[in-house]
Subunit: 417 residues, 2 copies
């Protein structure tokens, strides 16, 4: 029997009142059980993945999906091992919630404590990558939140198989609340979910620009995500050839469809190896585009915009104008230019002398990520456990009233303790 | 000549690229200048306030505004002194932005630093309290943001007078960017502002529930605010009479129209002084209501819901169902019940043995507040400087590429330093 989305959300909200206070040990036990059961039932997962792959093959032949989507769909032994390792990494991290952030004496008998807490019920809509569901569920569990998940339709069998393993694992943990991780399937369900701001606290879309835009336009619930990843590399005049080449090729070709792949190369007008560099990039099957109309395009492919700039200032200005506040990198040996770039580029991640592809939850040491945010509020950049938390204030008094302070009988101390 | 809202927002966005890197000293100089000039030009402010008061008097007689609004409008010597003192308090606080939050070695030559940063351009719509404009502007300046402000129409002359003083003060500071604090006047301008998500990063409405709801329904820009303040006090069975009475009277009558005033009293069924307490509250002109239909009403007046509950669990359940996640207090001498209440009540501020009226930026030691948030994301509770900040990641490398790590040639260290 299919449950109604509103009922699912209501149940999740009730579950949250229990998960928000779970201790770290219980949550880690749940994660360990999930990791063990994923390992134990891997053949079941691969079987389900095969069904998805067969169906996707037909779609590929009909050109209804592209090769990149097809390739992302495959869950092999290596990917599953990475996934399981990721869960064990997450177990090792500190409990991100129910921790004291600071405490302050408002007065000698009036103590204010700021505690980290989970957010609530989080709706996550993700693309056809079958490792997403286990990764996101693990982050949700560790951070004490609850989730309603909608996976890409192409990976539906893999998602169901992994979801079943997660549910069975959580059932094995004594007193673990029910309805913490929930799965919905249709686009209609997503539309309904976007309306339930009474029970859902945050929506995280992971997918195409059009999906993210559609969601932002159709909900009053806060949305955490990125509409696009237009990343830049600025090559200063003093860069050597080998490192420049190595970094650009990594940033463009190591995984071209990733949102942190570089889209535009800003080259200092005095960079001495311009022709050699362009030749090298072409040899690496990177197509170079030099038309300004394309500065806001996320190619997701081995295509790179090239613009010659006269200095660091012009590079900064270009990025703040055309970028998507995702990740931008300066290659330079001039400390002043590096500092200026890092300071004035208004992006969530700004890099010096390395590939934009480092912009990622795993690489930042967050264990995993629910996505990369280009928002200016709540969480920016790769969002791991911390981005799934908020805080609450606890004030411990001794029959204190405000009138005493407003009439000047008592005065606040405001001393951190 | 009246400037177009889009142009104002565009200019503010440009100004932000300069304010985001201002050092603490420059910002404090600006605040000091504002405080000095408010003091110096106080007669001008009082004169403007008199015009507003005269016009409001007519509206009051026509019953187009109520007495509470009229009273809030008055800016006297005391209120101005408090305001100026608030600015000096803010100066004393640490610079909330461009500070290292943490740094981590991803690898020996790849260092990730998380820096606090301002958010960007913030639109603030506030009610007819003439001290708001100086308070909000000070917080915006100290946090390195830029603002577009729309004040209540009843205080338009006072707002203009204070705005002029702020602008003149900022002009006196060498190299202080232009267009940091901007004022708009009409509802049409507000409607336009809500559409400019390209240039505006956050909207903070301070006003009636209907205003906040209208704004949430009409913008894609993130909104930080509270739709209502339905605060509770739960009185446990073991409370003494005098303290219970004192706290409830403070929480209900010290400023009944404040959002942190109590609306519902949850009384333990075995509380021994029920009748005495009700009599006392009535003697203090508090009207007691005992009908469940009213549990979600914010009276803003000396009216109090009363419900008898059988224990702490029922109180918690009631609050999580009917509350607005604002501020809720338990009065008890039972540590177990206090702990349970503080843990399981899902509100931004949970108090033990004190008045709900302490829920406030000044009282929490934040210097001032832009408002109290009942959101579950970005900022909760009283929002001061910290709630006006976000962060960015800076990664300092040595020609590092991702391929080396994905192929296993190198491994991440992920060590906090």
């Amino acid at each position: 029997m299919k449950k109604d989305v509103i009922q699912i959300a209501k149940n999740a909200k009730e579950a949250f009142l229990k998960t928000m206070t779970l201790n770290g040990q219980t949550k880690n036990e749940a994660l360990k059980k999930i990791a063990q059961n994923l390992e134990k039932n891997k053949n079941e997962i691969f079987k389900a993945n095969d069904i998805d792959l067969k169906e996707a093959k037909i779609l590929l032949e009909k050109k209804e999906i592209n090769l990149a989507t097809y390739n992302r769909l495959k869950l092999d032994e290596n990917k599953l091992n990475d996934l399981i390792k990721g869960i064990y990494d997450l177990i090792k991290l500190d409990d991100p919630v129910n921790q004291i952030i600071w405490q302050k004496e408002l007065d000698k008998d009036l103590i204010l404590k700021k505690f980290s807490t989970p957010i609530g019920v989080i709706g996550v809509i993700f693309e056809a990558r079958p490792d997403c569901i286990a990764q996101i569920s693990s982050l949700i569990i560790k951070s004490g939140n609850c989730a309603i998940l909608k996976g890409g339709s192409e990976s539906i069998n893999t998602n169901k198989a992994i979801y079943k393993i997660i549910q069975n694992s959580l059932n094995e943990i004594k007193n673990f609340p029910k309805n913490v991780i929930n799965l919905i399937f249709s686009r209609d369900d997503v539309k309904k979910m976007l309306e339930i701001d009474e029970y859902i606290d945050l929506i995280i879309p992971r997918g195409s620009n059009s999906l993210v835009k559609f969601i932002k336009q159709n909900t009053k619930i806060p949305v955490l995500g990125h509409a696009s990843g237009i990343c830049h590399i600025f090559v200063d005049e003093n860069c050597d050839f080998e490192n420049t080449k190595k970094i650009i090729i990594d940033a463009k070709t190591q995984y071209p469809s990733a949102c942190n792949a570089v889209e535009t190369l800003l080259l200092h007008k005095n960079y001495p190896y311009k022709n050699e560099l362009i030749n090298s990039l072409k040899q690496n099957k990177i197509k170079i585009i030099e038309t300004p109309e394309n500065y806001s395009i996320e190619y997701g492919d081995k295509i790179l915009n090239l613009k010659i700039v006269k200095n660091t200032d012009e590079a900064i200005e270009h990025i703040n104008k055309y970028g998507s506040k995702h990740t931008d990198s300066i290659l330079s040996s001039n400390d002043e230019n590096i500092e200026k770039f890092m300071k004035y580029v208004d992006s969530s991640s700004v890099f010096a002398n390395c590939s934009t592809r480092f912009s990622d939850g795993f690489r930042y040491g967050f264990g995993a990520e629910v996505g990369i945010s280009t928002n200016k509020t709540h969480a920016r950049g790769p969002v791991g456990l911390e981005g799934l938390t908020i805080y609450k204030y606890k004030l411990f008094g001794n029959n204190n009233i405000v009138e005493d302070y407003s009439k000047g009988k008592k005065t606040f101390k405001h001393k951190f303790i």
